[in-house]
């Protein structure tokens, strides 16, 4: 069941991503992108990362892509919907991309994950796979732990254990990201405000 689902989601995600690449129309690209991102969210679910998957759907599929579509709408005035890449570029990028894919695949395959896991167990103890902070077997229970981690407490690591020092939380990054988002929003708003200063002929 899991394998089948994975196969479906993986295939869809990869195919949509490929479609994004190959598509020339920006609107279609946006559509395929939504597909791809959605499928990835499915993969997250398969990986027991329910909160992340949800966030993926909400923010990515529901927010970011909408944003992109707005961008398309704001800019794509007729002829610019389709800006064709040259086939040469495509081939060049394809080759390079293929090589890169091969490299990454090679790297991934090089690692003996089983041995690695054994090694890690030996270092951190056999309890490494225990998930004291959330329900290990039930899906969709990571939310509480994640919220605590973002606030600085690592239930997933420290709960029920004796540690001289508590494990590192993500409170500070969280705050930074908050401010960051605020700044970005203001900056985006500033950048995007409409002003026509330059005549089009200048870029001819």
């Amino acid at each position: 069941m899991g394998t089948a689902l994975f196969t479906v989601f993986a295939t869809v995600a990869c195919g949509a991503a490929l479609a994004v690449v190959l598509s020339q129309n920006v609107v279609r690209m946006a559509f395929y992108l939504v597909i791809s991102l959605g499928s990835t969210a499915g993969l997250f679910f398969l990986l027991n990362a329910d909160f992340v998957g949800a966030t993926q759907l909400l923010i990515y599929v529901g927010g970011t892509v909408v944003l992109l579509v707005f961008g398309v709408m704001l800019t794509a005035s007729g002829p610019f919907l389709t800006i064709k890449s040259s086939p040469g570029d495509l081939v060049q990028a394809g080759v390079v991309g293929g090589l890169f894919l091969g490299l990454v695949a090679f790297t991934v395959l090089q690692v003996d994950w089983e041995a690695n896991a054994v090694k890690l167990e030996r270092r951190y103890g056999a309890t490494s796979l225990e998930r004291p902070g959330y329900n290990q077997h039930g899906e969709g229970h990571t939310t509480r732990s994640l919220g605590a981690a973002l606030l600085g407490a690592r239930f997933d690591k420290d709960l029920g254990r004796h540690r001289e020092q508590p494990s590192t939380g993500y409170l500070l990054p969280f705050e930074i990201v908050s401010i960051h988002l605020l700044v970005v929003l203001i900056g985006a708003a500033y950048l995007a405000r409409a002003k026509r200063r330059v005549s089009p002929s200048r870029d001819a």
Binding site: D89, Q92, A93, V96, G97, L99, F100, L103, T107, Q110
Partner: protein, 863 residues
């Protein structure tokens, strides 16, 4: 230093006190006579210049004082010289008057051989002081001290000469020239260890004789010059020989005082030359007479010909002096002294100065001591001149002695205008006539002969042969040119050259006394003739061409007569006078002696027959051209009426000296006094002659041999002279043959003679022009090569600095720029990558990551 040397302690025939006394008196008498003209010179030159400035108007009259002062100086000098003669004669006990027996020998008035009956050196010892005139007592000579022979003894001995001639086996005794000599130092110029440069005196018979002769003649000439130069007394002298660019004649103030100043300076120099006790001093005064001659020849400084002639005279003399210098260097190096001879007896102040040249080179018999060393012949020197190496007897290589002799004789060649340096003398006639009379006939040019005679002991037979031949060539050249010369003074000048040649010849062939004899007689009659010519020139208003004269005997009888005396004297004519036998004027005797010497020489050396034939023939030529001169000037008809009309006899101030000189020209050789006098100074080795020499087979005639030839030679010379005189009369008096008709077939020869044997042209081509060429080469070398190198260097430096600049600009700056440019260029080249194209950047990133991974995998393989 000298006391223990090989030279024996000297002693003269007079006691030490007498030597010192007489020597001191002579030293100061002659020294005063010598220095007086210098004082005169100083007063004349400064007084003249100042007097003229102070009083330009009346200056002319006062300037005459300069002439009187000069006459006073030289006249006093003459009186002092006479006094010196008396002192010398009294002090040394020399007898000048021959015995009555000798006088009766009219055919040759002077007893010249000193033969004695005995086979030994029968000499009169010097110790017998006070034997004046009676030193004829033969005495046994001890070995080595053959000195102090009184010439009177010879005179006496001569009477018996003929009787002993056949006896054979007897040899002529040696005269001791040091016996009647005094030497010492006036003044030391400089001294370096044992090397001394000094002003010395060497007073012997010859010195005294020369002093008397020079001062006497100079006095006469000075007196004459007062008259002759009187036209210089004006403030506005017009020189007709100088044409200015405007065509006018040259006007200048008279230079009376300057003339006499130079004359006085000359007298000083000449007397210094005569009194000189060393060869260096001779050189000093040699140069000084040369410069006086220069000044006097160039007296008319505005005449180009005069200044050129003066230059020529001085430079040609310098050529001779070059030889002189070489001689000096050799002598100085090997002898370490310049002194002729140091005759001061032990105990006198100058005795410590060591032996002189003559004493070193010749032993007490007057012989050279030649030794064979491994590779050369050397002459051993007697005594030692240097304290450095008294241990070993010093010697001089024989050939160097010859070289030294030839070198010194080179100076004589220049000064006495001998071949090949004779051309300056005729040109020297540019000077005023009294100058020609004094400087260029009687004294200075004779100084060469004097020096050759004085330096005689240093001459080896080879040198004598050179002297003889030089004299022989010269006398012939001079005589031949004189035949064709028409300028009255030039004729006399060539005649002077010729006569000087005779003197040299005489010295060269061993007739020492004959040469000096002729020097004295010639001085009298030649200065007489010059003064006569001066009188003529003065009377004819500076006309010197004989072709415009003639018949002047009526206008100027005294001059004419005096000139005739001179002409007869120089021609060597003699007359049969009933009571006295064959009697000639002074020249007859001296020339007779010369011809006899050369004949004797030829008898000993048949190869050198020219040395007899040439002078004999030239004796005839001499008579010819001298009579030609007289006939053309005084006899016959006037050739130029204008000149004749204005001619007049000279005033008494000029004729009186003529008469005085005439007297001496006639009679100075009579009674044998002169020859005796000369013989007192004859070098020791002359009398005996020499049978073989070291390098050339030469025989020098002894007195004996010469005497044997006397009659033959005298007769031959007389015949030649008479022939010449008659021939001259035929041509120029009686006009029986027109000279032109003879000249025509010999036009080439005539031209050659008129051109003075082409010497001037030859020298011009051979020396003058090459010198100028070399001079210009030197300048060009400096200008183009040395300066060229310098400029090249400077240009190179500039170029180098330019390169340096370039180097800086290109290489050094270039490197820096290259660095910048390369960086820039790399940047530029990377610019290509910086396309600004976003997509490409992405590609780069990917490729870069790929590359990094590949590198990581390759170089950091998994452990």
């Amino acid at each position: 230093m000298c006391g223990e040397t090989a030279v024996k302690p000297r002693f003269t025939h007079m006691p030490l006190e007498q030597y010192i006394y007489t020597g001191t008196v002579l030293k100061w008498l002659l020294g005063l006579a010598w220095l007086l003209p210098l004082v005169g010179f100083a007063i004349e030159i400064f007084g003249g210049a100042w007097g003229k400035r102070l009083d330009p108007v009346a200056g002319g009259r006062k300037l005459r004082l300069a002439g009187y002062l000069a006459v006073f100086c030289i006249g006093t000098g003459f009186l002092l010289s006479l006094t010196a003669l008396v002192v010398w004669k009294g002090g040394t006990g020399v007898a000048l008057m021959p015995t009555a027996e000798a006088v009766s020998h009219g055919d040759h008035a002077a007893p010249d051989g000193g033969e004695h009956g005995s086979d030994d050196h029968a000499v009169d010892h010097g110790e017998h002081a006070g034997h004046d005139g009676s030193g004829d007592k033969p005495q046994q000579a001890t070995e080595g001290d053959a000195r102090g022979q009184s010439p009177a003894a010879e005179a006496h001995g001569h009477g018996e000469a003929d009787a002993h001639q056949e006896g054979g086996g007897h040899e002529a005794h040696a005269n001791d020239p040091y016996a009647a000599a005094f030497s010492g130092t006036y003044y030391e110029l400089a001294r370096f260890g044992n090397l001394r440069l000094t002003i010395d005196y060497y007073i012997d018979g010859l010195t005294v004789l020369m002093f008397c002769m020079v001062t006497l003649i100079a006095t006469c000439i000075h007196i004459f010059a007062i008259g002759y130069m009187s036209d210089e007394l004006t403030e506005d002298y017009e020189d007709h020989f100088v044409h200015l660019s405007g065509g006018r004649h040259f006007h200048r103030p008279g230079r009376f005082y300057r003339f006499f100043a130079f004359m006085s300076l000359f007298c000083f120099s000449m007397l210094g030359l005569v009194i000189a006790g060393n060869i260096f001093q001779v050189f000093v005064f040699w140069e000084l007479v040369g410069i006086c001659s220069y000044l006097l020849i160039g007296f008319y400084v505005e005449r180009h010909s005069a200044s050129t002639a003066a230059n020529k005279a001085f430079i040609m003399n310098r050529v001779g002096d070059f030889g002189f210098l070489i001689g000096l260097m050799i002598l100085w190096t090997y002898f370490g002294t310049f002194q002729f001879a140091n005759v001061s007896p032990a105990g006198s102040p100058d005795a410590a100065n060591g032996p002189g040249l003559f004493q070193m080179v010749r032993d007490s018999r007057g012989d050279l001591q030649v030794e064979e060393t491994a590779d050369e012949q050397v002459v051993m020197l007697q005594g030692s001149g240097s304290a450095d190496d008294t241990s070993s007897p010093r010697s001089i290589p024989y050939w160097l002695l010859v070289a030294a002799g030839v070198g010194i004789f080179g100076g004589c060649i220049g000064k006495s205008a001998q071949f090949p340096l004779q051309p300056w003398l005729p040109d020297a006639m540019e000077g005023p006539t009294p100058v020609s009379a004094l400087v260029h006939s009687a004294t200075m040019v004779a100084a060469g002969v004097y020096l050759a005679g004085r330096f005689y002991p240093m001459f080896t037979p080879e040198v004598l042969l050179v002297i003889a031949y030089v004299g022989c060539i010269t006398l012939f050249i001079g005589a031949t040119i004189a035949i064709v010369a028409t300028d009255i003074k030039r004729v006399l000048a060539y005649s002077t050259i010729s006569q000087l040649g005779y003197m040299m010849l005489a010295l060269g062939v061993g007739g020492w006394a004959a040469g000096i004899y002729h020097l004295i007689t010639h001085a009298f009659f030649k200065s007489l003739m010059f003064l006569c010519s001066g009188s003529v020139i003065h009377g004819c208003h500076h006309e010197q061409e004989m072709t415009r004269m003639g018949g002047l005997y009526k206008k100027m009888p005294i001059t004419c007569g005096a000139m005739l005396v001179g002409v007869v004297a120089i021609s060597g004519l003699a007359f049969w006078i009933p009571l006295a036998g064959l009697t000639g004027l002074s020249g007859f005797y001296s020339k007779d002696a010369i011809v006899a010497s050369s004949l004797a020489f030829m008898a000993g050396n048949p190869n050198h027959f020219l040395l007899f034939l040439v002078p004999l023939v030239t004796a005839g030529i001499t008579a010819f051209y001298m009579f030609r001169l007289w006939f053309m000037t005084f006899a016959g008809q006037p050739r130029d009426q204008h000149v004749y009309d204005h001619a007049h006899e000279s005033p008494r101030v000029m004729t009186t000296p003529l008469i005085i000189l005439s007297v001496f020209a006639v009679g100075c050789a009579w009674f044998g006094v002169l020859e005796n006098w000369i013989l007192t100074s004859e070098p020791a080795h002359v009398a005996a002659g020499l049978t073989s020499a070291y390098h050339v087979l030469l025989t020098m005639p002894s007195h004996h041999a010469i005497h044997a030839m006397h009659h033959t030679a005298g007769t031959a010379a007389l015949i030649a002279a008479v022939t010449g005189a008659l021939l001259s009369a035929v041509f120029y008096w009686k006009g029986l043959v027109d000279p032109e008709s003879v000249r025509k077939p010999f036009a080439g020869v005539h031209h050659f003679l008129v051109e003075k044997w082409e010497f001037d042209n030859l020298y011009d081509v051979m020396f003058v022009r090459p010198v100028h060429v070399v001079a210009s080469w030197c300048t060009a070398f400096d200008k183009y090569v040395l300066d060229g190198i310098l400029h090249l260097l400077s240009r190179l430096t500039v170029a180098t600095s330019a390169w340096d600049r370039k180097f800086d600009e290109t290489v050094v700056d270039g490197l820096v720029n290259l660095l910048g440019n390369t960086t820039y260029g790399v940047g530029r080249s990377l610019q290509v990558v910086q396309t600004g194209r976003l997509r490409q950047y992405v590609m780069f990133i990917v490729v870069g990551v790929l590359g990094l991974f590949v590198l990581l995998i390759m170089f950091f393989p998994r452990a």
